[in-house]
Assembly symmetry: C2
Homo-oligomer: 112 residues x 2
DNA sequence: CAGAATCCAAATTGATACTG
DNA sequence: CAGTATCAATTTGGATTCTG
């Protein structure tokens, strides 16, 4: 299993509780910190900050300070970030297709 | 963002630290508990048990007690489990392709 | 607005020992 | 072999307060 190492590394990125949610929010272009905060239900500003910094560190998002009045901070996907987003698309489709089935399986399992 | 809910649910499955690693180990057919334990480096037997139970509960793996001597327990992917495995394949390819780039980005970031 | 810093509660996890 | 049970340690995360 020579690629087990790769699999684990990528899990450090996508396995993060919020990372893929943030990537998804950025798929249609740049978003501001507050926009992200508002649109990702339940995320604290602490976690959003941490998630964004990790993604920035990994070269998946770019952080830009926009010097208008009032100034704000904009985040957008890098080229690599967009390829990541594309690579996760099948997973989202899978979830939309199978989640009902999973709910059923789970309910049956819990009945026993 | 009407599918945010789906995205979050699926993260509850794939976002698990070990789940995808287990699914990957099962891609070529059934494996026994101990085989999985050995081949997934660093997993404790506690975590393997918990991960397998979650996957079983969600209808992604099947647990079978094999009544030979000595008896053992076999795990294999369900049909749905195999579709999940296929849906995660692009992500693995992505990781193999981009991980070096991520390492670079990370190193540069940390230098500052 | 976009964070940083601090504090604290809760959830995860590993190590270990035990069992049918 | 394939777990379960328990405990301790670490991590994680939320709430809150403060700042350029």
């Amino acid at each position: 299993m020579q690629d087990a190492c790769e699999a684990r590394e990528v899990l450090g990125i996508v396995g993060d509780k919020w990372a893929l949610l943030v990537v998804r929010m950025l798929k249609d272009g740049p978003r501001r910190f507050t926009e992200l905060k508002r649109s990702i239900d339940g995320i604290s500003q602490r976690m959003l900050t941490a998630t964004l910094r990790d993604l920035e560190r990994d070269g998946i998002v770019i952080r830009t300070v926009v010097e208008v009045m009032p100034p704000h901070v904009s985040y957008e996907l890098t080229t690599m970030g967009r390829t990541l987003r594309e690579a996760t698309a099948p997973l989202l489709e899978w979830s939309i297709e199978h989640l009902p089935h999973i709910a059923t399986a789970r309910a049956e399992y819990d009945d026993r």
